[in-house]
């Protein structure tokens, strides 16, 4: 197990290295550069000055050379400056990551029990009225676009009813936990709606398959109550395939957060990457996308470890 984890971490580090190169090239191929942005906003900037600034930023240097410079600096812990915020990128990254993690953790903690409950209820009687209602909800959750649902919720609960704030970020300098939760209700609701639908469809399918298996019949033949049969025998088996879905869903949620953060004005990773790309902030966009890669790599590793933990038939070597 330890050896396996170590091996996987080495593997992940290699994937990450390849990804830095690919991302560097992709961002480098984007049209425009930071100096161009400055020129647009400031007519007083002379072409001579622009040339000097390009030299200063190293914009003219060939991409592979720039990549080498960036990599050697990165290994020493220097990920460069943000051209948008005029600060080291790590300083900007920290708080943004924290915001997004809060949003994602809240969403996941709501989505998992909710999808398990709804999926299991729907699977009890496939085609029954409960299943119909829950499946309708699931399809609505899958089909409704994030941005649309966000706007509708803002119109109804923030503008018309005035119950909840439209902004995801409290104005206070150091907001209390209660205030933070109060401001997160709408964005977390949107993300949960976005995540629960596909998740509960998987739980339902997995439960229906499990409930028709032989060992469920054996469990019933022992005289166990239906609750025991479902909770003790079915759910754990049905959960095993869910691990993959969750690991993949993590990436999906990360990208879903981008839209929701932009609409609700939350200064998280999504908003940060969005702004960085929009204003050609090379270093910031790179570190943001690298972090998304790390999240995906780590969640996949955790999924494999969870498999071994849930299913005794799987041994990691």
């Amino acid at each position: 197990m330890l050896r396996y984890t170590f091996f996987r971490l080495v593997q992940a580090a290699f994937v990450l290295l390849v990804m830095t190169f690919l991302l560097f090239m992709l961002i480098g191929m984007m049209p425009g550069d930071p100096v161009e942005n400055m020129l647009e906003g400031n007519p007083a900037l002379t072409p001579e000055l622009a040339r000097q600034m390009r030299e200063l930023y190293g914009v003219g240097v060939p991409l592979p050379v720039r990549y080498w410079h960036w990599l050697t600096a990165a290994f020493q812990g220097d990920f460069g400056f943000s051209s948008l915020y005029f600060r080291p990128v790590l300083e900007i990254l920290g708080p943004a990551l924290l915001q997004t993690l809060k949003l994602m953790v809240a969403t996941i903690m709501l989505s998992i029990p909710l999808s398990l409950l709804l999926g299991a209820i729907a699977a009890l009687r496939p085609g029954g009225w409960m299943d119909t209602v829950i499946s309708f909800f699931a399809f609505a959750s899958i089909s409704l676009p994030n941005f649309w649902l966000s706007l509708i919720l803002i119109i109804v609960f923030a503008v018309q009813l005035g119950w909840l704030p439209a902004s995801g970020t409290p104005l206070a300098e150091t907001p209390s936990l209660g205030l933070q939760i109060y401001h997160s209700i709408l964005p977390v609701t949107v993300l949960t709606m976005f995540f629960v639908g596909p998740l509960l469809r998987y739980v339902r399918a997995s439960m229906i398959e499990t409930m028709s298996s032989d060992y469920i019949r054996t469990a019933r033949a022992k005289g166990l109550s239906e609750t025991t049969v479902i909770v003790k025998h079915a759910l754990r088996n049905a959960l095993i395939p869910m691990v993959t879905v969750l690991a993949l869903g993590f990436g999906m949620l990360f990208s879903g957060a981008l839209v929701v953060e932009t609409i609700f004005g939350i200064l998280g990773m999504g908003k940060m990457i969005f702004d960085a790309i929009r204003y050609v902030d090379f270093n910031l966009a790179l570190i943001g996308l690298l972090l998304a890669t790390i999240v995906t790599l780590v969640s996949n590793l955790l999924a494999d470890l969870a498999y071994a933990w849930l299913d005794p038939r799987i041994t990691l070597k």
Partner: protein
């Protein structure tokens, strides 16, 4: 014991019938049907009546799709949702058809237990074998988890599983097929049920392992006095264990007789066909006999076997023959038998 070459041993190999034992199970006019396409119902078990005495073994024989498994699921109260049941099932003086789901849960696992065909899939893959056995004891005998696990180890030893303490801690995939079936039997016998329903318990096993499992079942029957309803499509296997044999075809009973009578004097053409399909060691080169056609598809009018029967005439295609007692305790449903 020879399951591979049974033909020589078949006649009289069964146990002697013991008719004077008290009755344990009485099934009368049991019918099971499912709603089919276009509002038509498909009947999988029709008007079935039989009895099992305490400590007796009844063999139930027939091809796949004859309603053998549905009959046993009816006794367990485990029929799939949507099944319609009529007739009565009386067990130890209680009418099972009137049971509430709570009474069924008390009945299953304690009074009646079941061993299934597929030992590979019949156990929960993510639960320790010992735990799965202990569960029954916790439920029905109100043992603590610890005590129940200890009992489970003893039960594993009683079905001759080597190093039972270690095996109890194993997961099902760590056991061989034969060992899993032994563990299933240990699980079924945990609460000393009065009736064990064994649904093709040896079909999925190697021939040598089959013989061991049959031996084990007979040994445990002797120890605990458990009655067994032994379902198989294999007459040779049934002949090893059964006192009496019921032959089913397409949801109906076609012949019902003490084991030795049935083998010495099979009356129904279907039973005769089944016995002829057994390989004969005296003629090793002979081509094996098969009954033409299959059970599935549309039922013919009149006798359900008429479309495959070598003796069928116009009368057989018009009316369905009733079950008659043609010799003492030998019943058959065929117009061609006098």
């Amino acid at each position: 014991m020879s399951v591979a070459t049974p033909a020589l041993e078949v006649v009289g190999a069964g146990h002697v019938a013991q008719p004077d034992r008290p009755r344990l199970l009485r099934v009368s006019s049991l019918s099971v049907s499912f709603p089919g396409a276009e509002g038509r119902e498909s009947e999988v078990v029709s008007e079935l009546s039989y009895e099992i005495a305490q400590g007796e073994t009844l063999g139930v024989v027939g091809e796949s799709g004859c309603g053998k498994t549905m009959t046993s699921l009816a006794i367990m109260g485990l029929l799939p949702t949507g099944a319609k049941v009529s007739g009565s099932i009386e067990f130890d003086g209680k009418d099972l058809t009137a049971f509430s789901s709570r009474q069924w849960r008390c009945h299953r696992g304690r009074d009646v237990a079941m061993v299934f065909q597929e030992p590979m899939t019949a156990m929960n893959p993510v639960m320790k074998v010992g735990q799965q056995i202990a569960e029954v004891l916790v439920k029905h005998e109100r043992l603590s988890k610890r005590a129940a696990f200890g009992r489970a180890v003893e039960l594993l030893a009683s079905v001759h599983i080597p190093s039972p303490e270690r095996r109890a801690q194993d997961y099902p995939h760590q056991l061989s097929g034969g060992m899993r079936q032994r563990a299933m039997i240990a699980m079924a016998l945990a609460c000393r049920p009065k009736l064990l329903v064994a649904d093709e318990p040896t079909t999925a096993l190697d021939v040598t392992v089959q013989a061991q499992i049959l031996d084990l079942m007979l040994e445990l029957q002797e120890t605990y006095g458990t009655a067994i309803q032994f379902i198989s499509h294999n007459l040779a296997v049934v002949s090893e264990v059964a006192h009496r044999i019921m032959v089913m075809y397409s949801g109906r009973m076609v012949e019902y007789a003490p084991a030795e009578d049935l083998f010495a004097n099979p009356l129904h053409p279907y039973t005769q066909g089944l016995i002829r399909t057994l390989p004969d060691i005296a003629q090793p080169m002979a081509e094996l006999y098969t009954i033409p056609g299959s059970v599935g598809g549309k039922r013919p009018s009149g006798c359900r076997f008429s479309n495959r029967c070598p003796l069928a005439d116009a009368r057989c295609r018009e009316a369905e023959p009733a079950l008659r007692e043609v010799m003492p305790s030998h019943h058959v449903a065929c117009f061609k038998v006098n």
